[in-house]
Subunit: 461 residues, 2 copies
């Protein structure tokens, strides 16, 4: 008989909402190599970032303080949808007939549909506090654009979202929800920037790319008075804001006397993974515990598992600072897969450093059909339809639970369920029809991407 002393959903009251973000950099024995200013090709200081991001966010980007207070106004917004529930996957465990105990932290019940809102609120707030009157950003799949539109609507800041033109056309509902929250959606490339005009002059029918959209959003921010840019992943500030995911999870597990043996997150730019693992990684770095961390990537875009640890641009347009990270090269074009949020050539510098130094234990690349098998089983047993990105973590959790069954081990597994799949039904239709392609780049294709890594005199020849 299964003991049911542990509830299906472990809830926290709003008084238990963490009041500080935990900065894992404080406990890292070594910091990631410094950012490089793309203009001077010299190590960057935080002031180099001031024209792009709000100052407080630039300070967070460079901070190694252990705890940073969550402003009360940010807490007030968090309390509208947080603390988020931690679920015990009793039904999944039962159908897998595994002795493993599986927990998942669900971030998908807010309207943006994912964890992205956690950083969007913070970024909008700090811009508002500085008196910034206009924000720009880009969006591809649309989760980040939705989240920032919600946050900017809440703090009443006008927002321009450069949305990859083909996405804006293929996903009119994503565009509609962003506009409902009052943001201005500009299909990219557009005639509102030099970058966009130059591209359109060459090819008026260009359908756009995330790289171009970032370049346009940054140009618009840096060339418009009192305007800044916001980014939803990769950056240290974003991981800091997302640390609330792990802090809550740890508190929730403590309430039921549990500590995870294995922690699993999907990894694109690293915002969810970094946020989920931060508090637990702190325990590992300070010798308090030794959980096993697994990052799960799409086989089509395996930056940690097959990439190089090198300096690279964060965008394909080469307007952003360079970061030392695991990368496939900013010129690498990942095949079109359904987990659009994981289709990024690089990886958060913090996550990259933790992996390089052996604290993040494993990176695993999975094929699409495998993750949709897992997503469907999860939906039928746990009732929540997962986003394809999140399904990467589900698939790895199921694989680990099966290993536990073979070994007869009752391990405790925690994974991040970053979002819901309400806007991903086209992917589920594709899967059900048997049309989903399993694809991994060849070594030759990877080499082509690596060939686009920049040369930096004295640093990376």
């Amino acid at each position: 008989m299964m003991s049911k002393n542990i509830p299906n959903r472990i809830l926290l009251t709003e008084n238990e909402l963490p009041k500080q973000w935990y900065n894992v950099r404080a406990d890292m024995p070594e910091q990631h190599d410094p950012f490089i200013n793309p203009t001077t090709m010299k190590p960057a200081v935080k002031e180099d970032f001031y024209p792009i991001f709000a100052e407080e966010l630039c300070k967070q980007e460079f901070s190694t303080e252990r705890y940073i207070d969550i402003p009360e106004e940010v807490q007030a917004y968090y309390k509208m949808y947080r603390p988020s529930p931690l679920h015990r996957a009793y039904n999944l465990e039962k159908i897998l007939d595994t002795p493993a105990k599986i927990y998942y932290k669900y971030e998908g019940s807010n309207t943006s549909g994912s964890h992205k809102l956690n950083s969007a609120i913070a970024q909008a707030y700090y811009n508002k506090e500085q008196g910034i009157t206009h924000i720009t950003t880009e969006t591809g799949a649309g989760q980040w654009g939705t989240a920032l539109a919600m946050a900017c609507s809440f703090y009443n800041i006008p927002l321009d979202v450069y949305m990859v033109k083909i996405s804006a056309e293929q996903k009119p509902y994503r565009k509609a929800v962003i506009e409902t929250y009052g943001a201005n959606v500009i299909p990219s490339p557009s005639n509102t920037t030099n970058v966009g005009r130059a591209i359109l002059e060459k090819d008026p029918n260009c359908t756009g790319s995330l790289g171009t959209a970032i370049s346009e959003a940054v140009e618009k921010a840096t060339s418009t008075p009192n305007t800044r840019y916001a980014l939803g992943s990769v950056l240290n500030q974003v991981l800091l804001h997302q640390s609330i995911i792990g802090a809550e999870s740890k508190l929730q597990l403590e309430k039921v006397d549990e500590y995870p043996d294995i922690i699993i997150g999907c990894a694109g730019g690293g915002s969810n993974l970094g946020g989920l693992i931060s508090d637990f990684m702190g325990d590992k770095l300070t010798g308090k515990a030794n959980p096993y961390f697994i990052a799960v990537e799409p086989a089509a875009c395996p930056s940690l598992s097959r990439g190089k640890y090198a300096y690279d641009f964060c965008d394909t347009g080469h307007v952003t600072p360079l970061a030392k990270m695991y990368t496939l090269g900013s010129g690498f074009i990942p095949s079109s897969i359904h987990a659009g949020g994981l289709r990024y050539h690089g990886m958060s510098p913090i996550v990259s450093k933790l992996y390089h130094d052996g604290y993040l234990d494993e990176a695993r690349a999975l094929f699409q059909n495998h993750i949709f098998d897992a997503a469907t089983l999860f939906a039928k047993t746990e009732s929540i339809l997962p986003a394809p990105e999140s399904a990467h973590a589900i698939a790895a959790a199921i694989d680990e639970a099966k290993k536990c069954k073979e070994a007869g081990e009752a391990k405790t597994i925690l994974f991040g369920l970053t979002g819901n799949g309400a806007y991903d039904l086209a992917a589920y239709m594709n899967y059900k029809a048997g049309n989903m392609q399993d694809y991994a780049p060849t070594d030759e294709e990877l080499e082509k991407g690596f060939a686009t890594l920049p040369k930096i005199p004295g640093i990376q020849e």
Copy 2:
């Protein structure tokens, strides 16, 4: 200064989940007039319903017991997403500058996107218990079809969903989510039933209607061995299952020492409204309290506010039992509006009787643009994008809060936020583009509908 002792979200633990459904009929001084068997045109007994619904559900349809135990297996599924949160709308109150205290019960964070899952689980369970091996139903907008597909997947019962053909074509993602949970979607009219074949013979391009879909689902259920039909609204059993909404809400308000002065629900077939108000109506009927109840309908389909209290068929195909209810006539064709879930000619017999006898205080019919104004304001302030159906309740709550401001009264308002708008972005686009039509039927159009009311010898001439 606003006191913030009351949290933004009032949560209950799973141990606080109600273990019984409350049956408001137990406290009604008079019962609604009996159902009528469409074959004999005589008052129906519960056995007449056995070929259509699982027996336990037929018993509930006729029961006047005050409390009915929620089976443990149903509770187990409820605990995966319930108790649902009760929110205090601090930000909405602030922007309205009202002394009113506004609370909303949010049922939209499960994958079906609405409260429909509460009854779907119960109906699937009782069918499973009886050894029924196959269920049929119909769906228009898709919320009920999704909910029942989820529940049938959970209890492992094959399900046929007759989906109005035009909906299946216009809403491929709704069809996809239903199929992901393993249900079989059959665009209606189809060649799987006599009713469907007859229609297709006359008009091979017929795009279908909810009436036809119900007729096909009922025919399939009654003509297939060991098969039953399930319906997501109108029925007494459905209101019983949905009473969990009100029971939780009352408990949540008690925790913060509140009791609502005004309770507002949107009303289509009455499942949400009836469920939300049941426990509070019990207080009114037994003299413990005297809250003011408001049912909010679309102006395009005003069954309570402009309909007749008469016997009518529950479907346009005339295969179901007849009920005494407020109705526009089963031949009334409501104009195409964006709150598809409220586009029903009749109203729950219980809700109808309560309104007829003056316990349900007011029925209010609102235009679409007004409700989308409210939906947009709500999304921007409270962060949740509401379903158009739910937005009817929001609009009335805002109107009441404005009256409180004028009168300087700090009333406590509770409304039901039945679902989220993730699948309703086409409606928001239409609204934003200024293309939304405000429409109410003329008296002549209503008369045409009333002319379709059935004549029943000795009962309704």
